[in-house]
Amino acid sequence: MDILEDILQKEAKKSEKYKTTDVEKNVELELDLGNLLALDTNDLNLQELKSHKEKYLLNLARDNTQLLLNKLWDLPSERREDIVVAKLPAGTLRLPREKPCPKPKPLTKWQEYALEKGIKKKKKTNAVWDDIVQKWIPRFGYKKAELERQKDWVLEVPGNADPMEDQFAKKAEKKKEKVSKNEFQRLRNIAKAKKIKVPKEGLPSVANPSSDLLNTAAKVARVSTASLGKFQPKLPKEKTLKENVIAPKRVKRDHSKISSIDEKSSHLKIIDSILGKKPKLDIEKAVNRQVFQEQHERSEEKKTQKSKGGKKRRKTSIPSKARKGGKISKPRVGKVNTKKGKGGVGGGRKRR
């Protein structure tokens, strides 16, 4: 029993030596450990606060912090990068965000189309090997233009082209058009995303419009009435319209002047044209329809057929032009590429 008493005494001495970690409060603190936040709703001792302000506040803060830290020490801990950390729960106090929740980006026209068709973006290599310069040429960006210039120091004049035409200028123009088309599409996509209505024709809004543009604007405004500008008074100094680009020309018909014979003949013409209609035989269409029907039949047959067989097809009397991938070994004549003799047969599958 001596030993037990000894230990108890030691413990008592120890606890005497150190101050306690317990704090007594009438109302328990509301803690939000996620935000390291404590709310003490106990009544303040106002007298004490007046007489010994700083001391009272320090003690109050100490007690509340002790309670908060006691709870924090009870949290499950974890080792992260050689440091023991306490895992905090999510904060309970709801605080406003800085900016609204992010919205999903609206898809571009192409992205919508690709999604619908199930087209997936394929990863392309950054550079392509070029046999002429014997170098890897980047697809775009840094050093691409320089290498392209090296490669295209001379350009072939196509067979049917005007020999005096500047092929370089033509190429540059083509490139310029591509760029501006892309820019147009980009702006259209932005307008679509922001739900701005863009006028289909007529007047783009420009910072400094030219006189031509303003003239067109005046023309558009002129004919933008219910009577298509018929009763619109003329403005001072308004230029006469050379041609009405916007509104279609109205053909005036004077019904009073038509003679009865003319009227009769015109009506008869109409009747003749309606009654004398003959059905047109579109051979290509008919053939296509036949081909489609047969293919459809075969595919249906295949679906019902459980065992997986080969792909052999029946012979049909369809001209080879309409078929793709069939097994008739008729040489192709129609589509030989005369410009560049690399592939030989262009389009479709290669045959031997």
Partner: protein, 300 residues
């Protein structure tokens, strides 16, 4: 006709990055603070904003130029300054005869004012008057004492603002020995007392440490003056959590007593009969066989 002129792409990579950083995010960064001075600021206010700036570094910007702004009359210039600095919290200090030592604290949502409160500072003690110090970027513990924080609706809103202003980074784990700073706000009937202390962890007889505090500063005694709170609707909109940030419960995953993770997987029915095995020439059907098969199919 709406114009499309100002649709501009950032020309440089850096510019693009800056614009991207300003866009709304699912998990937001720390709110940046902007310290502004009005037409005139007293020494107390200047010291106060300097000290608060030191506390909130590096997520803060202090502007030294004087501004002819009265936030309670016209908030637009403050909003503009905040937008330029990508800040959503502001401290505006100005002093005049009618409102001496007034410090306005406010926050923005989506570049617009959400709420702001004006305090009149009665008594101020800066960092310099105390010896204790803490390392920079220490996340403080926040303590609110006094029953008024709960009873008064106005003070409850002020509390939300103060937490937003002083809580610092949002974290999911904390090194316990690194808890070195506590800020206490005490609400008495007429005053709000802000006290900031350094925490010292002492040995105790139990596993828990004994907490001792030392004055760190700043000490601010202030009175709540004018307020402008957000409408309930706007506050609700601002407090919305994005769907991506909400954690979903994990299904079919469990842990046993030994700490091994068990998962349950549901497999669809496998069609063993029709599965494609390795193709071999020898097993291929001849043309004649296929024809027979097709004919029998047709006959059926």
């Amino acid at each position: 006709m709406p114009s499309l002129q100002r649709v501009q792409k950032p020309t440089t990579r850096k510019g693009k990055k800056i614009l991207l950083a300003k866009e709304p995010k699912v998990f937001e960064d720390v709110k940046k603070k902007l310290f502004l001075t009005g037409r005139k600021a007293s020494e107390v206010l200047r010291n106060c904003s300097k000290d608060l700036y030191k506390l909130s570094k590096p997520h803060a910007v202090i502007l030294s130029r004087k501004n002819d702004i009265l936030p309670f009359e016209n908030i637009v210039p403050v909003e503009n300054l905040c937008r330029n600095n990508d800040a959503s919290l502001f401290f505006f200090s100005t002093t005049n005869k009618k409102r001496p030592n007034s410090l306005t604290i406010g926050r923005l949502f989506d570049g617009r004012l959400l709420d702001m409160v004006e305090f009149c500072i009665n008594d101020y003690k800066s960092f310099d008057q105390f010896t204790a110090s803490i390392p920079a970027e220490t996340k403080p513990c926040l303590v609110f004492s006094g029953e008024l924080w709960e009873q008064s609706q106005e003070l409850a809103k002020v509390k939300s603002l103060l937490v937003d202003v002083f809580r610092g980074e949002v974290i999911d784990a904390v090194r316990l020995q690194g808890l070195e700073h506590v800020i206490m706000f005490t609400a008495t009937n007429d005053n709000i007392l802000m006290r900031s202390y350094q925490i010292q962890l002492k040995k105790s007889s139990t596993k828990l440490p004994r907490v001792e505090l030392e004055d760190l500063g700043p000490h601010i005694d202030m009175v709540l003056k004018r307020t402008k709170f957000a409408s309930e609707d706007l506050m609700k909109r601002a407090c919305r959590t994005p769907q991506e940030a909400k954690s979903k419960p994990k299904k079919n995953v469990s842990k046993d007593a030994l700490g091994t993770t068990h998962g349950r997987i549901h497999m669809g029915k496998q069609k063993v009969g029709t599965i494609q095995t390795r193709k071999m020439k020898g097993l291929k059907k001849t043309a004649a066989e296929k024809r027979v098969a097709r004919k029998s199919k047709k006959a059926n």
